[in-house]
Subunit: 379 residues, 2 copies
């Protein structure tokens, strides 16, 4: 018997209340019960996104929400600026190009955060830029970009700022109205503690003005249609009802915890994990880490994939390796969503044993000890 622990950066562990809610007989999406539930979900999402505006809901993976953000704001020939510094930053560019746009790029070395001044320079150099696309928590590298600073820069221009916050909403502060972020795309399989299948899009007034004029083609991911439906507590197309029911449960838990405690928890788990892996002599991949996950460079002579494999096969722990150019080089431990101190301890302990299994000179207990010191101080 081996317990299994899912500590990959998404899907993450699902809240037990949400799992059980999904096992209840399904609701009719045009009936009064669903309407009451959706009204509550709408309020919860505004709370979570820290916005007065509607947060749109699409049945799709987070990428569908990203596509929606592109095709609902821009028109053929529009200039766009894309910040790339990881797999998900690149995705913004791929979507823009799929729709015939030719964005400019700021290419950031994988593992580093974008220098906000570069955004300012790009917008000054090309004042026709209509939208700036970036990632908040780039889960392929573990970097947290400085959205507050970027928003301050973009906010002074006519351009809108569109942020992939799929691994950051509910993990780290992102007050979209206060900071002036125009489109925030979230997913449900990360901090929201429910299975994948819903994309969430917060949209500012400045962005809505562009949505009204946008002429890129769209049908399924139609912001105007979905807002109109939501205002009547409906969805445009048949939604993933069981996921909306699960979301209702997780939003209740999130509201009860409160945003301050929610962000503090993620910060605490992240700091403890980082302290633990460093105490084992391992090196972090990035200097500006997201509290959603910790990216670690595989020690010399050990392939990252071997660590991932051994953790799963021998110790029941699912984490992620590196993607694309980082394959084999890094591994990623997540601590977001339905995660607490117990997950950090279990993960570090299994990592210590795995490293020992693989012949790495590990002082058993040393990672846990360092993590414990952070956790004790944080309480």
């Amino acid at each position: 018997m081996k317990k299994r622990h899912l500590l990959a950066p998404g899907p993450t562990q699902v809240l037990p209340e949400a799992l059980l809610a999904m096992a209840r007989p399904i609701l009719y999406h045009r009936g009064p019960e669903y309407e009451v539930l959706l009204a509550s979900v709408r309020e919860g999402l505004k709370f979570l996104f820290q916005t007065k505006n509607e947060v749109l809901l699409f049945t799709s993976s987070g990428t569908g929400g990203m596509e929606g953000a592109v095709v609902n704001t821009l028109s053929p020939g529009d200039r766009a600026l894309v910040i790339r510094g990881g797999k998900f930053g690149e995705r913004w560019g791929e979507i823009c190009e799929a729709y015939g746009l030719q964005p400019s790029y700021i290419d950031v070395e994988w593992g580093r955060a974008v220098e906000p001044d570069l955004v300012a320079a790009a917008l000054t150099a090309d004042p026709s830029i209509k939208a700036v696309f970036t990632t908040h928590s780039e889960s392929s590298t573990g970097v947290l970009h400085d959205i507050e600073a970027i928003a301050r820069i973009v906010g002074k221009t006519p351009a809108i700022l569109i942020v992939d916050a799929i691994t950051s909403v509910g993990v780290v502060d992102l007050p979209m109205d206060a900071w002036g972020v125009d489109v925030v795309v979230g997913g449900t399989q990360k901090a929201l503690m429910i299975p994948p299948g819903l994309a969430l899009c917060g949209v500012s007034d400045k962005a809505w003005a562009m949505v009204q004029r946008s002429r890129l083609p769209k049908f399924y991911f139609n912001f105007i249609a979905e807002r109109k439906s939501l205002e009547k507590n409906q969805n445009t197309f048949t939604p993933a009802v069981s996921l909306v029911v699960a979301l209702h449960e997780s939003l209740a838990v999130i509201r009860a915890e409160g945003l301050t405690a929610l962000f503090a928890r993620h910060d605490r788990l992240a700091r403890a994990t980082r302290a633990g892996v460093m105490a084992l002599g391992l090196q972090l991949f990035t200097e500006r880490p997201t509290p959603a996950l910790t990216t670690i460079i595989a020690p010399p002579g050990i392939e990252a994939g071997a660590i991932v494999k051994r953790l799963r096969a021998a110790h029941g722990i699912t984490i992620s390796g590196g993607q694309a150019q980082l394959k084999g080089k890094i591994f990623r431990l997540a601590h977001l969503g339905y995660a607490d101190e117990s997950d950090v301890v279990v993960c570090l302990a299994a990592l210590e044993r795995t490293l020992a299994d693989l012949g790495y000179p590990v002082k058993l207990g040393e990672g846990i000890r360092a993590a414990q010191e952070v956790l004790v101080q944080a309480c």
Copy 2:
């Protein structure tokens, strides 16, 4: 205490095995367990769609699959023919128009099936037509279109036939390879007995040749990328894992029942329901009914909405009213997916009581009696 029965044409009741499967801890979509599960789902879908080709899987409502069928086969300026005779037929036209195409239309009176000869005439009149779009089971009117005849006509031309089979896959025979249907779009919240959130697309070799040349913009709903991923037992983007797990359960039940028994069951329930409502003196809305649902004209002096409302409030039964131009005029009783004789009996009994409540001169028990005669003969 009042038991609730969901007898609307979608979402339909969910298989208990699928509900419970969704309550299990979530699987990592890039792990070996999910790959084994997806391999089995792929086989099950080929069996259900009666095709040797891959059935593509997208996390979205059925409409997302419809959009995928348009944007992956056609190119700007392509001619298309759309058969409209209900809300879902109209949707094909709306999607084509959203992507800048100007389709020709065959407009069929709501409640009637398309005359296949009209399709032949349209294709002869305009041999440049690249694709014919139609609905199989049009759930807004309850009509079943003759796809076998239409496929025979389209198959003789270079055009492809694209069918919205969202309420017909698993309900009525649609052997896509044998009949030569080129794209079949299905959903999961109908005959597949699981919650909404997955769209399914079967694609013929003839259609794949067009997919290779298609130049309409697409990103999330990309057929080529998803086929490539599926061949490695992966999905392009994070899938709705819990729905795929549920689908695995329902496909096992469907394979065990077998397609012949599956179609016979739907036919039996449909005939019993029709016999029941006619015995109550009510009139069916269509002469070519789908076995997925029964559409009934509200009797003179009674608004269809009042029947729907009363059934739900007083008798715990959720059915659907009419949509668009049929609002207030018809109501729709579904009998698809996780439905059997008990649902027909419960539904007709509640309908009898509802009609009596509303002052309609109903002979109590008469509808049930007529349904029973069909059910007895069918065994």
